[in-house]
């Protein structure tokens, strides 16, 4: 691990000032420290933001509002989460392990880096870690990699489960920068790799994630997360789907679907959603709609099975959502 300094800050202003001088935020440290130990990440200055008062979890109107430093386990267990956005609770519990969730923050979760094995191997080419060194996965073992949003430079999936749910639910985020605040959809946080796979998100240097806001609505109660993986727990998604349905009078009025494990970023499935509107929520409709999900997929040598698995995962998630009272 490269030596670093650690500065503890008490206010957002202090945090942003420290970040302005090249500091890197650290919250739970569950992924940043891991990567620093392997010298994949090499920050020289860490800014410990854990004392900032952005740990809240509360209802505002029908919205669920979550401070960036709230812990995954706290958010999952919070009564307001379970009342307003059970999908968020379910998604969080499907991620990582209880020990990690006790430490890991919501902000950190969104900015966690990819799990492509080559990203973590300093002796392997990886455009994300070291731009211009090539991608070891595209011509190599790539069974776990993305089929959507890839470029010839990178095919790593985005690992966050939470991000999938937030994107399905049209969540927004508020970030703080030097002397300003701005809010935007979580959907806009993530970039495609294109020719700059090392740039993963759209935050400006030094911006601090302060808060996530998840708008309520009739879809929120019929919302489920399905994470398909070879091991029952403690594994990143092979394919996952968050599905929220608003059904009225036996007809789908609104549908929100996003998927993980398939895209280089969390992937909203707008075409699938459109195909569901106005249909009866039954398996036939789900299957017909889910076929839209594989439009434009680009499987690699080892991950053709994901093309098959993706629509099935969506169908099942929709069935699960449809069954919720």
């Amino acid at each position: 691990m490269i030596p670093f300094t650690l500065q503890k800050v008490l206010t957002e202003a202090e945090a942003i000032a420290a970040a302005g001088q090249g500091g890197r935020y650290i919250a739970g440290g569950t992924t940043l420290i891991d990567l620093m130990r392997e010298e994949v990440e090499r920050p020289e200055k860490l800014v410990d933001i854990n004392a900032l008062p952005i740990k809240h979890i509360r209802a505002e109107g029908g919205d669920l509002v979550i401070g960036a430093l709230a812990r995954m386990s706290e958010v999952a267990a919070h009564p307001e989460t379970q009342r307003l956005q059970p999908l968020i609770a379910e998604t969080l519990v499907e991620g990582a392990s209880p020990q990690l969730r006790n430490v890991a923050s919501i902000g950190g979760n969104l900015l966690q880096r990819c799990r492509c094995p080559f990203f973590r191997m300093l002796d392997a080419g990886c455009n994300k870690r070291a731009p211009g060194t090539g991608c070891s996965a595209i011509e190599g073992l790539n069974g776990g990699h993305a089929i959507l949003g890839t470029s010839d430079q990178c095919a790593a999936t985005h690992p966050s489960d939470l991000a999938v749910a937030l994107i399905a639910l049209d969540a927004t985020m508020r970030v703080t920068g030097p002397g300003y605040e701005r809010s935007f959809p979580v959907d806009e946080l993530f970039r495609l790799p294109g020719t700059t796979p090392h740039l993963e998100h759209t935050l400006r240097p030094g911006e601090l994630i302060a808060e996530i806001r998840v708008p309520g609505g009739p879809h929120a109660r019929r919302a489920r997360y399905l994470k398909v993986r070879d091991r029952s727990s403690y594994e990143f998604a092979v394919v996952s789907a968050a599905a929220a349905l608003h059904v009225e009078g036996g007809i789908v009025r609104d549908a929100r679907i996003a998927c993980g494990g398939v895209g280089t970023r969390p992937w909203r499935m707008r075409a699938v959603e459109r195909a569901l509107i106005g249909k009866a929520p039954d398996r036939a409709a789900f299957e017909a709609a889910a076929r839209q999900a594989t439009e434009g997929v680009k499987p690699l040598s080892g991950n053709h099975y994901k093309v098959e698995l993706l629509p099935r995962t969506i169908v099942r998630a929709l069935e699960m959502a449809g069954e919720v009272a």
Partner: protein
């Protein structure tokens, strides 16, 4: 007061130490003035080292030494092959030349004043190579299979004419199987602390075989074994990876000598996938011929396993095929596939687990072809004797295991048709398979000291990687000496303790247990001899044949009055401890008379989600005939652990190698999947009553390996029963089942 220690479900005597942190593992024996070593592994999979830029790194903070083939001492590497080293080939000579034989091979070691400094320098060390593309895929056309040069396990065997019988058989099955490479992935990483004092070397080192580590390091450095001491009281999981002495131990000793200070070297998790052995990937073909009423007429089992180019790792891949079934025509063939990889090594159930996966799967296929229940099919082919060796079994309870297991599992209510059993949208499958593992009994010794307070100290080199050696040996000594458990203190894990065989091959209970028993009897004999010769003793002058030990007292035969206790005898003899050692080994004559194996039957239930390709184990029942069970609590735990290992083999474990450079791509606990708690449902282990006077004086058979064998085929068979699809590769993963 009758002491009945054997057969009781005692809790681990070292349990408290383990859960309170009192148990010290190799890396915890920090020494004064210790420095830290970090291994640098090759980043090419084959080739030659061109240049090592040690100069730049030597200037980094805290760095004390950069050792590579350029400056490492030329070591003696005298011939030495312990029981766990391959019989053919020569071990890797670490840092002795510029050759790279496989990805991750150590090419340098950095010594620094802190782990951090050593890690940083290791990451910064620039090594350039003339690299070539290694061959790491057994299916690669460049792989040339070779017959193993030696070893019974490797020999091709044949009886009758299996090929002709296969061709003539009315019912046949022929199938090929591909089982992935596995790594042991114990919790505790390999670790060695090396300290020289003059020409004497002490190693606190993770090892399942301290006396072999002592001999191996002595041979490598060309020094007397007596000058090397290996200490390892606790092993945090081994599964076989610590049976051999791998290059890092040598590196720690080289480093400590170079810097003249104790050096600690702990492998990283990633390095645990490089140079410390693995279960070889195997390719197998099984062909079975049978009559329409289910009598086997032909059994052909051909298998090959990967090995390195410099050593022939041989395991018992085809060995059970000669005696599991009654069959007049059997042919087995075993080949090695030398590739550009480190040498594989024994991993729990070595050979048997892989080989029986193939054969037990094929037998299951045959049962469907015949329309005969798979348990019944095995019953129809149960042999009366070991037909390969033409010897009776010392005991064989396989059919009792099936009866017990079937009853506990509820097998009778199985619908035999594939895809017939469901739970909602899930397909349910029930599968079964046999397990077997030989009863080894290697020469072992132990020492017992009786103290003036009436307690006993027992010592044997041995090891306890988890089965509970501390506890079971304490039980054996307590029972033999008629002492309460808390009056016995058993110590292990030092190379200067009486020598024992490797803590592998399920032979610790049989070998070390028999030695402990013999040493207890020897110390009693010694005490008795002294008592009858001691004028002050109430037994003075009695003939040695007229006294006997009853409940820890030396009494006159036929006289109900209790004689002196250990404490009285030791005190009477002056108070200094009375010590005796003894050895135990299998009687060669008996070994020629019997075929000795443990057997088991494993029943499992899986669910398969046909939409998502997800297999989950729902329950499993294993029934084992493993001789006398010394401690049912530990034995159950041992079996559950083995079943979990088999579950990993069936559904998760797989080391994937990059064909371009041989790198294990998933060398990370996030990517190399082993079962977690949520994957492990209710598992039951049952033991059939089995008395086997032939295997060893204790009548124990060993459980560690047989408990893993059988699980993977049972699961694979259950997946077929659930889905109607036969997946002939392990692990069975989502992508194998998207078409069911």
């Amino acid at each position: 007061m009758t002491m009945q220690a054997i057969g009781k479900p005692h809790s681990r005597v070292d349990g408290r130490a383990k859960v309170t942190g009192g148990a010290r593992y190799a890396a915890e024996f920090n020494q004064p003035d210790q420095l830290y070593a970090v291994v640098v592994g090759s980043t090419v999979g084959l080739g030659r080292i061109l240049r090592i830029d040690a100069g730049a790194v030597a200037q980094m903070p805290g760095v004390r030494a950069v050792i590579s083939h350029l400056n490492a001492p030329r070591l003696a590497y005298q011939p030495h092959k312990g029981g766990t080293d391959p019989a053919n080939g020569e071990r890797l000579h670490v840092l002795q030349d510029d050759q790279v034989r496989f990805y991750g091979q150590p090419v340098a070691v950095i010594v620094a004043d802190s782990l951090d400094h050593a890690e940083r320098a290791a990451a910064a060390l620039a090594v350039s190579y003339a690299g070539e593309t290694p061959v790491v895929d057994p299916l690669d056309a460049k792989v040339q299979p070779v017959a193993p040069q030696a070893g019974r396990a490797g020999a091709d065997r044949s009886r009758g004419d299996a090929d002709a019988a296969f061709a003539a058989a009315p019912v046949t099955v022929e199938a090929s199987f591909d089982m992935a490479r596995e790594n042991h992935t114990p919790m505790e990483p390999h670790a060695t602390i090396a300290a020289w004092s003059g020409d004497r070397l002490t190693l606190w080192s993770k090892s399942q075989f301290v006396v072999n580590e002592q001999a191996e390091i002595a041979a490598i450095f060309g020094m007397p074994a007596a000058n090397v001491q290996v200490i390892c009281p606790f092993v945090g999981g081994g599964f076989g990876t610590s049976l051999r002495t791998w290059p890092h131990v040598t590196l720690a000793a080289i480093a400590a000598r170079q810097v003249g200070r104790p050096v600690k070297l702990v492998l990283t998790r990633r390095q645990m996938f490089h140079t410390t052995g693995h279960r070889p990937r195997t390719l197998q073909r099984v062909a079975l011929g049978a009559t329409t009423d289910g009598r086997l007429t032909s059994l052909i089992h051909e298998g090959s396993g990967e090995t390195s180019r410099y050593e022939q790792f041989v395991e018992a891949l085809t060995s059970t095929s000669g005696f599991m079934y009654s069959c007049p025509n059997v042919r087995t063939r075993y080949r090695l596939l030398p590739m550009d990889t480190g040498t594989p090594t024994f991993m729990r159930g070595p050979g048997e687990a892989s080989g029986m996966y193939a054969v037990e799967s094929a037998i299951d296929e045959l049962s469907y072809k015949l329309g005969i229940d798979p348990v019944e099919l095995r019953r129809r082919n149960e042999p009366a004797i070991d037909e390969a060796e033409k010897l009776p079994f010392s005991s064989r309870s396989l059919m009792q295991c099936y009866a017990l297991g079937a009853e506990r599992f509820g097998w009778a209510s199985r619908d035999p048709r594939p895809r017939a059993m469901r739970d909602g949208r899930l397909l349910i499958g029930w599968g079964v398979a046999s397990a077997s593992y030989p009863c080894f009994f290697s020469p072992a010794s132990a020492r017992v000291r009786l103290l003036a307070d009436g307690s006993a100290e027992v010592e044997a080199a041995s090891s306890d990687m988890g089965p509970g050696t501390y506890t079971s040996m304490t039980q054996v000594a307590a029972e033999t000496l008629s002492l309460p458990l808390d009056k016995v203190r058993f110590s292990l894990g030092r190379s200067d303790f009486p020598a024992t065989p490797s803590h592998g091959g399920s032979q610790t209970m049989s070998s070390v247990g028999s030695a402990v028993r013999a040493a207890c009897l020897a110390v009693q004999a010694e005490l008795a001899k002294r008592a009858v010769a001691d004028r002050r003793s109430q037994l003075f002058g009695a003939s040695i044949d007229s006294v006997e030990w009853r409940e820890g007292r030396l009494s006159r035969k036929g006289d109900a009055a209790a004689g002196p206790s250990y404490s009285e005898l030791v005190t009477g003899a002056g108070g200094s401890p009375v010590e005796a050692g003894a050895s135990a080994a299998r009687d060669a004559a008996i070994a020629k008379q019997y075929s000795m194996h443990a057997f088991g039957a494993v029943f499992v239930e899986v669910s398969v989600d046909p939409d998502l390709g997800l297999v989950r184990l729902r329950r499993a029942v294993g029934a084992y005939g493993a001789g006398r069970i010394v401690n049912p609590k530990l034995a159950t735990s041992q079996c559950i652990g083995g079943m979990v290992g088999g579950l990993g083999m069936a559904l998760m474990e797989r080391t994937a190698l990059d064909p371009r450079d041989g790198r294990p791509v998933n060398a990370h606990m996030g990517d190399y999947l082993v079962p977690v708690n949520l994957d492990v449902p209710h598992l039951e282990a049952h033991f059939v009553e089995e008395q086997d006077p032939h295997v060893n004086p204790l009548g124990v058979k060993g459980l560690g390996e047989v408990a893993l064998v059988g699980m993977a085929p049972a699961i694979a068979n259950a997946v077929f029963h659930a889905t109607g699809k036969r997946v002939r590769e392990l692990p069975i993963r989502i992508e194998n089942l998207l078409d069911v």
